[in-house]
């Protein structure tokens, strides 16, 4: 019997070890649709693009949604046969939204010579720490979601973003709430992350210019209990409560808890809250009428995106804030790589970077995407969306 007991415990440990090991190994390469183009003769070239983002941890949801869209785009591109003889694969790097990890992940991509472009990182803080590594290797990156102004201010040549910077979003939000909603008193919440602090600062500064009375508090990204901060909201009695944080689920929880405390206030999130499942469905009605922003036009309303949406939803069920952005960014990167072409089985990283700087791309987002020399988007404003029923509807587009 003693032997049996030892066997049981040994078995348990083996199982645990295997499971934890498997859970820790997020970084696998998925080759999309191999061999479908029929170019089996000769040496088929595999070119990799990297996807970096928080694929585990608190922000894993936005990361995984984006990753799906990147993989979906690569599959589409491979199937389209736009580059015969070349198969694209996605190299996945999980930075758990942690700046230190982000730099390590970037280093890994830089050392993998097959990687010629990066989609991500997704957080402003992770972009900031990964940028020097990418810059050194001339490896171009396009972030779908990092909006912090600083990112475009240090002369990085590899940096591109397919979303407006906070300098655009903050004043646009302020313009909307004062001119369209007549807000006089506002309560702001940020979650201490680079993204959240950046956008909240920008909103706060613009509201101050417009003479709005304000109070601001910080929460932590791991907080789930907002009773204390909501009591302050209740006492302050604002017209609007800003939840400019990256987690739509957390914003929904704030809305729900506010409702359960009998606080009647309009809620407005930033682009981080643009997620119908976590912000609307999971809120059980508490976010009805709440506002958020969309960095691109609401794709569900765009005729150019319908085919993509139908196929994507058939495969994954739902779309979220960064689905269309990630898909567009990937397609755009692939387009740039295509224009560079393959020489001696290799794609030149520097040439890809230069191609991105000159690109004029029009895809599912229905506006021509091109980049300023600092990496910011040359076109596009922000869009105000509102929760109605089980989805978002576009209220208006704001340009400064």
């Amino acid at each position: 019997m003693r032997l049996d007991k030892r066997h049981i415990s040994l078995l348990v440990f083996v199982v645990i070890a295997v499971v934890t090991f498997a859970a820790g190994c997020g970084g696998t390469t998925t080759t999309a649709a191999p061999g479908e183009t029929g170019t089996t003769t000769g040496a088929a070239v595999t070119v990799k693009i990297a996807a970096q983002g928080p694929f585990t941890g608190d922000l894993s949801k936005i990361g995984l949604d984006a990753l799906q869209a990147v993989q979906f785009a690569v599959e589409d591109f491979n199937k389209s046969g736009a580059m015969p003889g070349v198969t694209f694969a996605v190299e996945v790097g999980d930075d758990i939204a942690d700046p230190a990890t982000a730099a390590t992940v970037a280093q890994k991509f830089v050392e993998d010579k097959a990687v010629v472009g990066v989609i991500g990182p997704m957080n402003s803080s992770t972009v900031l720490s990964a940028l020097p590594v990418y810059e050194e290797a001339d490896l171009a990156m396009i972030t779908q979601s990092a909006t912090n102004d600083k990112l475009a201010e240090s002369g990085w040549t590899v940096f591109h973003r397919i979303c407006p910077a906070d300098a655009v979003q903050g004043p646009s939000i302020a313009k909307f709430v004062t001119e369209d909603l007549g807000v006089k008193k506002a309560f702001l919440i940020d979650d201490k992350s680079t993204y959240s602090v950046g956008i909240t600062d920008s909103v706060e500064a613009s509201l101050a210019e417009r003479g709005v009375e304000m109070e601001r508090q910080q929460i932590a990204a791991t907080d789930k209990d907002f009773a204390s901060v909501l009591t302050k909201v209740k006492e302050f009695g604002p017209d609007i409560l800003f939840t400019t944080i990256p987690s739509p689920a957390q914003a929904a929880a704030i809305a729900k808890q506010a409702k359960s405390m009998g606080i009647d206030v309009t809620i407005m999130g930033s682009d981080g809250c643009n997620d119908p499942v976590d912000f609307i469905e999971n809120a059980g009605g508490a976010t009805e009428g709440a506002y958020a922003t969309s960095l691109g036009p609401l794709v569900t309303d765009l005729p150019t995106a319908q085919d993509f949406l139908d196929r994507y939803i058939a495969k994954y069920g739902v779309t979220s804030a960064f689905t269309a952005q990630s898909y567009e960014a990937t397609m755009l990167l692939l387009d740039a790589i295509k224009s560079v072409g393959v020489q001696d089985g290799k794609v030149d990283r520097k040439a890809v970077k230069e191609a991105l700087g000159k690109i004029q791309y029009k895809g599912i987002l229905d506006f021509p995407v091109s980049f300023l020399p600092n990496g910011n988007l040359a076109t596009g404003g922000i869009f105000i969306i509102q929760a109605k029923g089980d989805r978002f509807v576009q209220v208006k587009g704001v340009t400064l």
Partner: protein
């Protein structure tokens, strides 16, 4: 201010229900049962699954009190069974092993359960429909202070659970046996107490409390996720240490002190420094009373 007292009492309640399990297991086995947080989290998910059966088109199909009662029952049974199984699989085989072995085993169990639940829930949060189960119109208004139904239900259920536990420990034979085992396991076994049975019972009772706590936390937070056991577990563990780990009244006292410090600290000083304030208090108390508020100094065995 009174509003913040209500907030502190509510937070203290959910932490207390959680912290008891840590303290009980430590008292009897002197191991830190890290998997306790996951038991608690799974309890909260039982609430979600039960509630889902009774919600159609954002409307309840049964009496809300009945649903909460049923959630509590399911959570208590599932958590109890799970904890006893964990003890049997992860701790019992290591009873005679070195002190560190069960600690690693506990950590592994915690990671394993957390990730399994993460995969099942696709790493997304799940909503708890507090506003349907305990509607806003049930709120009690005392002057300026609004006490939402979820608040007094949480505080009430916790009080009942704590009194029941106290009676169980003080008045029943099994409770007496548990206390005996906590004092001296060997001596208890000489007195004819089945030590293994009592250890299982300890895990069971702690988990039942955690199950109740999980349901209450779901109602309080209005949403739950697979990692909630870890983040709240840090607080529960802190509360247990603060009160004197191994001491049940200490765990409850520690929970309410921690909750009060956090709530009032974040309100009067800054929300940003909430955790800093809580841990500063912990460190200060441990400097003067290293064994916690109600803990007994551990004699050095020669």
């Amino acid at each position: 201010m009174t509003q913040q007292v209500v907030n502190a009492l509510t937070l203290g309640s959910v932490i207390a229900l959680f912290a008891l399990g840590y303290s009980m297991v430590y008292g009897i086995l002197t191991i830190l049962n890290f998997a306790h947080g996951e038991v608690f989290m799974i309890g909260a998910f039982m609430g979600y699954y039960v509630q889902k059966l009774f919600i159609v088109d954002n409307q309840l199909t049964a009496n809300p009190i009945l649903i909460i009662f049923l959630s509590l029952l399911v959570a208590m049974v599932v958590c109890g069974a799970l904890a006893v199984t964990i003890e049997f699989v992860a701790y019992r085989p290591l009873r005679q092993a070195a002190r560190l072995a069960p600690l690693i085993s506990a950590l592994a169990m915690s990671v394993l359960l957390r990730n399994i639940m993460g995969v099942i829930t696709k790493f997304r949060v799940r909503p708890i429909s507090t506003d349907l189960l305990l509607p806003q119109r049930w709120a009690v208004h005392i002057g300026e202070t609004t006490i939402a139904a979820s608040r007094y239900v949480i505080i009430g259920v916790t009080l009942i659970s704590l009194v029941a536990l106290e009676l169980f420990m003080a008045r029943t034979k099994a409770g007496k046996a548990m206390r005996a085992c906590a004092q001296d396991r060997e001596a208890a076994s000489f007195m004819g107490i089945s030590v293994n049975g009592i250890i299982s019972l300890t895990f069971l009772v702690g988990a039942v409390m955690a199950g109740i706590g999980g349901i209450m936390t779901g109602l309080y937070y209005t949403q739950i996720d697979f990692s909630m056991g870890f983040s709240l577990g840090m607080k529960a563990f802190t509360a247990a240490v603060l009160g004197g780990i191994g001491n049940l009244r200490g765990a409850v006292l520690g929970s309410f002190i921690l909750a009060t410090a956090e709530t009032l600290g974040s309100y009067y000083i800054s929300f940003t420094y909430r955790d800093v304030i809580a841990f500063a208090i912990l460190i200060t108390i441990l400097l003067f009373k290293p064994s916690g508020l109600l803990g007994k100094p551990i004699p050095v065995k020669v």
